[in-house]
């Protein structure tokens, strides 16, 4: 019974991952996080009715709801997993070293390949696209209401955890 549950969970995870990868390949400019959430939600009803296929018998309604919760939780893990290669500065530094000849670089070479200027420029553009800030032609940055809320959240969170030094 436990191996059947493990097998069903593996099928749920693999099918979600494959769908997300296929959709990301078809629409590379789309937001991968939106894709993950949509795939998990849209396929939930299918999962609810897939019990007979996965187990060879109908589960109770509660059992099927648990099946859907497992499916949604696995989608959540996929979401978190993607943040690592997509957002992590540290992983990008390792990738730059991997791509370098003999897998080695000096600090100035590393900074040249993945510069703080390009990092900040890209993040500012993303914050502007997300309506957190506005950037005018001279490079002046203005916090929008959403940015003020986010700034308060980060500042409050740091105060709550007494974080005085971060990245």
């Amino acid at each position: 019974m436990l191996s059947q549950v493990a097998f069903a969970s593996a099928i749920l995870l693999l099918s979600q991952t494959a769908m997300v990868a296929a959709l990301a390949a078809l629409r590379p400019k789309s937001n991968i996080y939106v894709t993950i959430v949509l795939v998990a939600l849209v396929t939930s009803p299918v999962v609810f009715y897939s019990d007979a296929l996965l187990f060879g018998r109908r589960l109770t309604v509660e059992g099927r709801l648990f099946l859907v919760l497992v499916h949604l939780a696995l989608g959540g893990f996929l979401f978190h997993f993607i943040t690592l290669p997509d957002r992590s500065v540290t992983l990008r530094l390792l990738v730059e070293l991997e791509r370098a000849p003999e897998h080695r670089l000096s600090v100035p070479m590393l900074a040249g390949r993945y510069s703080v200027r390009s990092m900040i420029g890209s993040r500012l553009t993303q914050l502007a696209d997300g309506q957190f800030i506005a950037i005018d032609a001279s490079g002046r940055l203005t916090l929008r209401p959403r940015g003020n809320w986010f700034g308060r959240f980060v500042t409050g969170g740091r105060r709550l955890f007494r974080i005085t030094s971060a990245n």
Binding site: E98, H103, R104, R152, F153, I163
Partner: protein, 172 residues
């Protein structure tokens, strides 16, 4: 469905323990404590659920699995929010913009990160950690990937390909 109350309680305990640890003890690597608390609470939740809802059918097995996965997901979400929003690059950027009006200028903000030394603020934080963690070796001039660093980098490159992520690192 009543059994889902157990992970809710565990998540509250996870937050309380994590908050107490970071706020009062300032560990160098909070993630080690987050991992410890998450694992201990998973064991505790398993024990409580098995005591009250022993596994006699697939429904029970899925009930336990759903509870454990949801609990782990909630802990991971807090962990990730802590690192990416409060401790990480994006959070720091937003914190700087919110608290220092002088930095609300693209060039001044970039200069504040570039600093005057050989390493900018981003590398100065991460390179020593990578060396200390055994991901990268250094002879003072060159940074060289160690085997486990290579493994991680190759895994990341595979993820870039599989999920069409471009070159990652938060750059679009």
């Amino acid at each position: 469905m009543l059994r889902l109350i157990v992970p809710l309680a565990a998540v509250a305990i996870f937050f309380a323990c994590s908050w107490t640890t970071v706020r009062f003890f300032h560990p160098r690597e909070p993630r080690r404590f987050f991992l410890l608390y998450a694992l201990v609470l998973l064991v505790a939740t398993t024990g409580v659920i098995l005591h009250y809802w022993p596994i006699v059918s697939e429904e029970d097995a899925f009930g336990l699995l759903a509870a454990l996965l949801l609990q782990l997901l909630a802990c991971l979400t807090m962990w990730n929010a802590f690192y990416s929003l409060l401790w990480g690059f994006s959070g720091s950027l937003m914190h700087d913009l919110f608290t220092d009006a002088h930095l609300r200028d693209r060039e001044r903000l970039i200069k504040s990160y570039e600093g005057d030394g050989e390493m900018d603020r981003i590398l100065a934080r991460r390179v020593p950690n990578l060396v200390r963690g055994g991901w990268v070796a250094t002879d003072g001039q060159w940074l060289t990937l160690r085997p486990k660093g290579r493994l991680m980098a190759i895994g990341t490159l595979v993820s870039f390909k599989v999920f069409s992520l471009g070159m990652g690192g938060g750059i679009k």
